[in-house]
Symmetry: C2
Amino acid sequence: MDSKTKNRPLTPPPDGGRPTLKTIAFMTGLGITTVSRALKDAPDIGAETKERVRLVAKQIGYQPNRAGVRLRTGKTNVISLVLTLDEEIMGITSPMVVGITEVLAGTPYHLVVTPYSATKDALAPIRYILDTGAADGVIISRTEPHDPRVALLTERGLPFVTHGRTEMGVVHPYHDFDNERFAYEAVRELVERGRKRLVLLEPPPHLTFYSHMRAGFERGLRDFQADAVSFHHINIDHTLVEIRDAFETLMRSDDPPDGIVSGSGSGAIALIAGLEAANKTLGKDADMVSKVPSDFLRWLRPEVVTMYEDIRVAGRELAKAVIGHIDGQPSETLQSLSQPEFQSAVQVSIKR
Amino acid sequence: MDSKTKNRPLTPPPDGGRPTLKTIAFMTGLGITTVSRALKDAPDIGAETKERVRLVAKQIGYQPNRAGVRLRTGKTNVISLVLTLDEEIMGITSPMVVGITEVLAGTPYHLVVTPYSATKDALAPIRYILDTGAADGVIISRTEPHDPRVALLTERGLPFVTHGRTEMGVVHPYHDFDNERFAYEAVRELVERGRKRLVLLEPPPHLTFYSHMRAGFERGLRDFQADAVSFHHINIDHTLVEIRDAFETLMRSDDPPDGIVSGSGSGAIALIAGLEAANKTLGKDADMVSKVPSDFLRWLRPEVVTMYEDIRVAGRELAKAVIGHIDGQPSETLQSLSQPEFQSAVQVSIKR
DNA sequence: CAGCGCTACTGTATCGTTACAGATTTGTAT
DNA sequence: ATACAAATCTGTAACGATACAGTAGCGCTG
């Protein structure tokens, strides 16, 4: 107890602030380096020493200083969620953030939200993160078939995951909802209800899941023998008013659709409004199947058939995938596709 | 050009990575300290020197290393948004995050989302932030009259802002929606429609805006001479199913309410479901006024009178307030109350 | 022309951590 | 004994920025 108390932090106890390695070094009589290595379970530190260090660290509630680690190693312990400021009205951001943070809670990672305005370059936040080393991993959404963000991140070697897939021959982590399947099953459902003239409210053409959803829709039309009614000039990125007005016009036309597949929950609302503005009744003049991120429609318009896309789960998957990527797991193992499921007709218990 | 090129970063150009003060020092032939001070416009640096430094810094795209600044000064340039993982179904988080980031975009601040699960201590994330110095400012919601988080943050001197007010004699920044006024105007509206037996779906009693909303409701009852129907055991934090079932029971009772004030948009959905389950019709057997965070209800149930609470604006106000607090502005000047407004009856253009 | 004060600039130490290159001790083979 | 390896532990430097305590040069006063 005295033969060992020689050098070490010759300086007195660091002070009253939060504990650092120096504090532990002082308390254990060890060198700062030793303490550092002991806490990372390095092989050249004695078992008993590690034990002592860990005990003291725990007792005094030591938590490594993020700035110190970051400065020295470049590791930020930050995951960046890159978002458009102009998010959909039905706000998928909430459950997404919740899902992500649920996973991050058990890790040293913090979630930083990095926005970009749609009027600007979607690459801007990516460049910022790359240039400033602001994060260890990135989560991006609104993925395009040839996504420049994916190209840039891959080239620069920064781990990331996309919400949605790409078609650029690059193997990378992703999580996606099976929109092909969704549209296919939606068509099946409508045809089973005797509908034959179907319309699709689709995603904007530049996003990857546009072609997925269209493909599923068209495959369904073929397999179940129904016809498509064109609604091509309108997509889920249009305003609710635009969608409603366009759909009202369509429903007032000579040969209106009798089955509707809506690629978004908020779009569905506008479609319903348009349909009713044309003096038609949902469930009578037409049936509708919609993808939804919440329980809303099911409560207010039970006549709509809904397929639930669980964004919270998506957030969890995305978070797990980026971390996996950071940890060096092969990208192939970090890809997942969630299957659509029809929501149970009536009300199951809802959280909170 | 040579008489000055004496000492300075004797070491060669920092290297190919991102530029640091050293890079600029090398390029300008100045000392690192001088460059640092020049960039902060310190008074002891010559005007021309500052100009040169600024020019070079801009040219090479210098951005201060956050870890360096943080380690040395303790300034994190982080604002922490503290959230419950169990957010309401109608997700106010999305627009809130958008509003906050809109303001932070013009500042050096990053937004970090710090969650806590409702099952745990709401103080935990606050303690974490205080103990680790994780943020320069904090945004908290679900504010209580005697909020331990406010007490702790005040005591420790960490800038913060609350979404909602407190009643603890502490002057602090806040942004709030005028729920008193909302409930009062809601009662007025219902009475003007000939309704006399009113029910309130209120916030949970431990939150501050519970008493605000109740006070407005009761003042309205007095001023406009209507009666209250008790629905006390249920509040907006209950599940949709619980609310619906309870409300169905109430509507089937001997003397059901004919006017409904809903303190939340998602609650309104459950109330409508309950009312209809009791074979009543909204607009005929009863009218309803609801506070809403989106355009949903207005589109799907135009018979509901809605008052819009703009969460995005709230996010902006909150962000401005924390930053103001950090900058040392007096708390009194960082308090704001947003007034409820009835939404225009039909559809105005909706964003995206 | 010594001394003072001012302007403009600079070196050193430091924040907390880790990479790296030792240093010390002990045990073992020779 | 001597050398050598293995097992443990340690000091120094560095990441990038800033606080602080200078220093150098200049003009002016008396």
